[in-house]
Amino acid sequence: MSPDLEIQIIAVIVAVACSLPGVFLVLRKMSMMSDAITHTILLGIVIAFFLTESLTSPLLIVGAAIMGVITVFLTEVLNNTKLVSEDSAIGIVFPLLFSIAIIIISKYAGSVHLDTDSVLLGELAYAPFDRLELFGRDIGPKAIYSMGTILIINLIFIIGFFKELKIVTFDPALATILGFMPSLIHYSLMTLVSVTAVGAFESVGSILVIAFMIGPPITAYLLTDDLKFMIILSALVGAINGVLGYQFAVYFDVSIAGSMAVMTGVVFLLVFVFAPKRGLVTMIRRRKSQRFEFAEKSLLFHVYNHEGDSDERVELGVDTIQNHVNWDKNFLNKIMKTLKEEKKVYIEDGIVKLTKEGRDFAIKSYEEIVSEF
């Protein structure tokens, strides 16, 4: 395998592994927790490193996972005192833990082969140099196996506890009654997020992990309403972002992880604007036509309300009706023209009048609106 291909495989594995727990972070409105966790796992890694004096020990992952859970726990404790709002709680806990980590690292920078830049920023380009050997044979870059393992763990967890995750996410109260223990699921998910973040940070850096955890799920969220499909789609989007990002990075000779994050943003933005059902373009077009349709109904209803009144000439006069609906002249003319074409209104003696069709339509649309709720 060429290093080129290897890097792309790692990129895809990282992106997919991150997007899986990310789906539930997004749906549980805990996106910013990924921001906190990805920063604080650094402290877990540093502490575990000093205990084991090895950068390859699996204990590093354990340390990071524990620190991730501690982060969530501390934030909740702080929030539960009711002295601090939730956003402030996150904004206090993670900088503190992160600062401690940075200080430890800088203090022992000389003796430690761990520098802040690589943790924060990561360097995917180096991944193929760190290889795994089995029985003296080179079987590929280590990152493929470590990240692959995490990906499989995530998959097993999500498939195995799909039902639980679903109910705990959508209705925690019901989940408690049914005995699903939302807090257990909650902390398991947070552990998973931490483990995934540790695995990913070497390749892409801790801050960009956030993009891979949140970006693909919210992109998928704009495309589907089905949870299963959303998970599959976000894995797919994650993979695409990884490959696109790599190509971009190679072309411009810039940071691979950074490019992947940028591509995540670009792909999201494209979907945000052009998504078939929920995209900005569709929405604006739909709103415009709805606004027009709604204005037609409003005008019909106005006429219906005032027809035959003593002040009919003022309320419904061709020249005075504009004062009453308070619309822009052009807009009113456009609506009137359409209504006339549709034979819902006609003008008699300078007064706007309803045809029978128009009257029936006005009554029908009012009833629809009132029965809507």
Partner: protein
Amino acid sequence: MNIINLILTDYTLQIVSLGSALLGIISGVLGSFAVIRKESLLGDAVSHSALPGIALAFLLTGTKNTEVLLLGALLSGLLSTFLINGISKYSRIKFDSALALILSVFFGGGLVLLTYIQKVPNANQAGLEKFIFGQASTVLLRDVKIIAILGTILLLLVLAFWKEFKIVSFDIDFAESLGFDTKKITFLLFAMIVTSIIIGLQTVGVILMSAMLTAPAVAARQWTDKLHIMVILSALFGAISGIGGTIVSSVVSKLPTGPMIVIIISTIVIISLALAPNRGLVWRYLRNVKNQRSIGEDQVLANLYHLYVNHDNEGHCHDLITINPDANLQQKGKENIQKQLEDLKKKGFTRSNSLDKWCITDSGIEYVENYFKEGEE
């Protein structure tokens, strides 16, 4: 002594401390508004998002002048919040998700630009990375002057629009109904918060800036219920941690300034949460204990009152076990009830006779009867 000597003689340290102190004051004041408006995480997003602005400003102008880079940071910070608000307003994506996405995507963009700059021949990019972690030691007198000017403008604006900022933060509909242009006021306040974040980047860096914005205000909030005192205290805490962090990191070798400032301000937060009068956790715990005890006392008194009603005789006294039958289960319970009776005696609600039997007094009876009357209302 060494430290004081150092502070008095080391010119660089004085400059850097002054810069950090000013920064602490500015972010303390504007952070107060961010916290009461529950926008502290926005600070995190803005500071991360500033990175591509800094890189782009350098790339386009070729200068590393602080004001140019800060202008770039300001623009990309504002753009990021515009995007965050747009995404959460025009789609089903929640605000927090939009925040997380934009902050990391912008940061990624910043990294891409930084790596690109490294490849540009003759571009002296060294020093741009300092914005990621902040590097107080690179702050020059020139920078301090810029911070001071911007800070003065921001503080004057806060003073001038104090009433407006207060009312839009508390009750925006009411402010609108009074005829205030709430959109413009909110935008001005927000732009000022963003500016204060940008000012801090050089010293604390993009990652830790959110702590500078949030922590002093959260600490200050615990000590007071008044907005103006909160703002002043917050500025003070910000200044203390700014100076403290700078000095500690220059005295102890290899300690980075930004994280040190964050640790000091976090310590202030923890102390405030624990010890602040009224709101603090210790205070709250003591009050709970006191409440519990007075409920216990009321219970004992109520039992005595019932015994009195049943016997219809004030002079008829009882031993501990009759007063509270549960008390004999444990020695501790007995001591407890004894103590409560003694406390009640001090208040004049009970008296004891020579046989260590207890009964209720007239004022005790009155207290119990009033107590129930209050409860009925």
